[in-house]
Amino acid sequence: MKISCTAVLLSAFGFASFAAQGAEIAEDQSQILTRPDSPASGRYFRPPLEREIPDNAFGKLVQEGRAIFVDTKNRAPEYVGNGLSCGNCHLEQGRRANSAPLWAAYTMYPAYRKKNDRVNSYTERLQGCFQFSMNGKAPEAESRVIAALTAYSYWLAMGAPTGQELPGRAYPEVPPPAGGFDLAKGERIYADQCAICHGADGEGQKAGENYVFPPLWGADSFNWGAGMHRINTAAAFIKENMPLGKGGTLSDEDAWHVAAFMNSHERPQDPRLIDGSVEKTRDKYHANDGVNLYGMVVNGRMLGQGVE
């Protein structure tokens, strides 16, 4: 499995610009880069315990938000267009440090995001998750779903300082392999470490109607606009959190190879598609968005066509 020459060149260019952005990235909350030498676990903010949720109207809304977060497809079905739950990428119900915890996100909004080129409220940030990661429809700002998820985020962040980038935020950045990523190696790692849960073709696994193991590509996965479509973001997530319960066991290189393999497959179209053109969409939204394969030719096919 090889990427075409064009793709390699573009990919190398993409990475160079990604690295160069490091200094100014704090301005932009589209893609959060956390240094790999993150502090020891004792220094992470500790969100309140679930049993401390107050027994009142606020507490009920918090509990409702928590339930939506881990069972999104069933509890907010009108806004979810795939088989995922928020909790698939934010482990331990959005509590876990280095797994994009909600307590570290909530306190950073409102914030500018290059992704949509404006200052976003936390509500808009949540709406973005539904539009891209959940390949669905943004819940209305006044909806119960937004109210509940906001209450849950706020409750998790109670006691955390506002406007400070907290340790354990996002996923710790993983340095890319010196020789670039290798899709063939990624395919082997996937077969050895991932397929047992996520399926031989990334299709996930269900119990009854519900996905237990999330689909990683294809029609029921996140779309081309989701942050996880970036290989650098996926590598960081995988290194820290996968295989489930065995985070930190893959090498940096292997995390990149397997992330690249995952993201070299077709998935639902970026809802920001411009004039039906993958090229135009790549130029505007993907060319400077970390390392990604949208609009690249892999195995003779241009990625980014989307799947229904």
């Binding site: 939506i68 909790g87 237990v212 319960g245 065995k246 985070g247």
Partner: protein
């Protein structure tokens, strides 16, 4: 002469057929006498035997059953009772047993998942995990209600508590090492005795 030997030949023929028929391997044992009848410990219908801690087999995934029998034989899943039995079963007997057992229904269980609220230690482990020790929610792999997922992640709901606890202890002690990528081994090694008891009772109690 012909009349005298006819019935004897007929009896032999019937015996040979019996040894390969799935229901009979289950209830009477395999061709090799060491392959004793499954039913003597796992119940007449494969429903398991709670008092002895013998697990339910009816409704388990076929590939899971075949893998466990192979692993008993090889010792990857060390078990002094099952080792000689699994070793004495022929491949055909194993295939027919797995097909017969998987065709039976597993009891319906409410699909309680991570969205549910928790109180007790067992359900907390099952639905929340213990992430400070990298222990995922049991339902994250075994499915809501512990109903099992696919061919690899077996159902836990309704299995005898004694059986479930024995497996967790076997992973903890390294006498069961046949889980893919040590996925259960590292969990078993991280659980306390109280947690093992509580989570085993939780899943054992999930039956209608």
């Amino acid at each position: 002469m012909i009349l005298r030997y006819g019935p004897i030949a007929g009896i032999f023929l019937v015996c040979a057929v019996h040894a390969q028929a799935p229901a009979d391997v289950y209830s009477r044992g395999g061709a090799n006498p060491a392959a004793v009848a499954c039913a003597s410990c796992h119940g007449a219908q494969g429903e398991g035997m709670e008092a002895g801690g013998f697990p339910r087999l009816a409704g388990l995934p076929a590939d899971y059953i075949k893998k466990q029998l192979a692993d008993f034989a090889s010792g990857a899943r060390a078990n002094p009772i099952m080792q000689p039995i699994a070793s004495a079963l022929t491949r055909e007997e194993i295939d027919t047993l797995a097909a017969m057992l998987t065709a039976q229904a597993y009891p319906e269980v409410a699909p309680v998942g991570k969205g549910a609220e928790v109180q007790e230690l067992g359900e907390t482990l099952a639905l929340r995990g213990a992430w400070d020790r990298n222990i995922p929610e049991c339902v994250a792999c075994h499915g809501p209600g512990g109903r099992g997922v696919g061919e690899v992640f077996p159902p836990l709901a309704g299995q005898p508590a004694q059986y479930l606890a024995a497996q967790l202890i076997a992973w903890q002690q390294g006498t069961r090492t046949n889980d893919p990528n040590d996925l259960m081994g590292h969990i078993g090694r991280s659980l306390t005795a109280d947690e093992i008891e509580a989570v085993s009772k939780y899943f054992a109690g999930l039956k209608k």
